[in-house]
């Protein structure tokens, strides 16, 4: 069965969705991601959906669910690279995803995660940053 890979980078997890999401895949991602957050004690999750062309209400809700679950597990979620057509579709579906933070691309998404973790007083984030740049 296909699975979406989850990459670990410091205290962040990165998920890039590069295939058309069908419902089973989405549910599998939910399972994998939550267990991975618990396992690695990740502080931030970045989901890149720049290759996602088609969304439906289920996928939209799944994104909201994942971010909710991550928050409970003490990790912040950023969704990046949403295509204009996808954004319009979600808005027309009435899914404004109020709990989700967004960024234009992965670079800015990482920046957003770092700054928000730094301002939340997570010493990890700063260390990570330093370690990463070193």
């Amino acid at each position: 069965m296909d699975r979406i890979p989850i990459l670990r980078m410091g205290s962040f997890l990165i998920v890039t969705i590069q295939v058309d999401m069908h419902d089973r895949l989405a549910l599998a991602l939910q399972d994998d991601l939550t267990s991975k957050i618990a396992q690695t004690e990740a502080k931030g999750v970045l989901i890149d959906i720049s290759a996602l062309e088609i969304v439906d209400s289920f996928i939209g809700r799944m994104l909201a669910n994942i971010s909710g679950m991550a928050r409970i597990l003490d990790a912040q979620t950023v969704v990046t690279g949403m295509q204009p057509a996808v954004a319009i579709t979600l808005v027309e579906l009435g899914l404004s995803l109020p709990g989700i933070r967004t960024a234009l691309n992965v670079e800015r998404g990482m920046e957003l995660l770092r700054t928000s973790l730094a301002s939340a007083g997570e010493p990890d984030a700063e260390d990570d940053d330093a370690a990463f740049e070193a």
Binding site: V79, A87, L90, N105
Partner: protein
């Protein structure tokens, strides 16, 4: 055979009919010499008459028949050019209806000894010219609608410019009423620019929007939400006092959006978001000595 009779009549009196037709048009004050030259009008009339004779020669009096295809083409082109030249519908209709009088005159002159045939032919001619006029008016209307549609399209294109104010700052000055179709186009062009430019902040300026009702507010919020989903901040600016009053009276919740009364204020906020600021030139030199004034990303 009544059909051949009228063909014969019109063919024989073609030049006479033309002169009388032009006279009738002139009497009806529908010549509009400011819009069309007399010789052009004369050529048009002659053309229509000639095609009419051609059509009648087929023996049919139904102008939707294949024999009348040329007549229909001529009428189409006449009415199209009139719609563009700015003739009124009445003047265009008068152009065709003016043909009635000369034809009736001719019929009466030629058939005054046979009242029954005269009545018959008059009725046939009336039917024929009415149909011609109807056809003309229909295509006149069509070309007018075409003009309107083209203008609408042009307006839609003109009214949704996305302006780049600074690196990463876009402004969208909205002018005119926002309806669903326009919101869709605005949203699409804005979001496309957000992707290509890598925009941080978008300023929606509604100075040019005359009224804001619940629907317009909903459209604005949709645009803001879509931009947010893509990771861009939205600021709504140009909110006039009356509009602020209506928004509150309508119970529209804009608390999720940053609102400013002027585009300048919104721009200031946008610059602050990008860690930029505007300083006076004189103090800039002094400030530059101590701290950098612009720290661009």
């Amino acid at each position: 055979m009544p059909d051949t009779l009228i063909v014969d009549l019109i063919t024989r009196n073609e030049s006479q009919l033309l002169i009388e037709w032009l006279k009738t048009i002139a009497n009806a004050k529908a010549t509009r010499e400011d819009l069309i030259k007399p010789e052009d009008l004369r050529a048009q009339c002659a053309d229509v008459l000639r095609r009419l004779v051609q059509g009648l020669a087929s023996g049919s009096q139904n102008i939707t028949d294949a024999a009348y295809v040329e007549l229909r083409d001529v009428l189409d082109s006449v009415s199209r050019s009139r719609a563009q030249q700015g003739f009124s519908p009445g003047e265009t209709a008068t152009f065709v209806f003016s043909l009635k009088e000369p034809i009736f005159h001719t019929l009466r002159r030629e058939l005054d000894k046979r009242p029954e045939v005269l009545a018959n032919e008059t009725w046939n001619a009336t039917l024929l010219i009415d149909k011609m006029a109807l056809h003309t008016m229909e295509s006149f209307q069509r070309s007018r609608e075409e003009v309107i549609r083209r203008q609408q399209d042009a307006m839609l294109e003109l009214s949704t410019p996305v302006v780049k104010l600074w690196d990463g700052i876009l402004a969208l000055p909205l002018i005119g009423t926002l309806d669903s179709a326009r919101t869709q186009i605005v949203m699409e062009s804005l979001l496309q620019r957000v992707v290509t430019d890598g925009t941080d902040v978008v300023i929606l300026d509604i100075t040019g929007v005359p009224t804001v009702d619940t629907l317009v507010a909903q459209h604005l919020l949709k645009t803001v939400t879509a931009a947010r989903l893509m990771g861009t901040d939205c600021i709504i600016s140009g909110i006039r006092p009356q509009i602020a009053q209506t928004i509150v009276h309508l119970g529209v919740d804009l608390s999720a959006v940053i609102t400013k009364s002027s585009l300048a204020d919104a721009f200031k906020i946008a610059l602050a978001r990008r860690d930029l600021m505007v300083v006076k030139r004189k103090s800039a030199a002094a400030a530059a000595a101590t701290t950098p004034t612009q720290s661009a990303h």
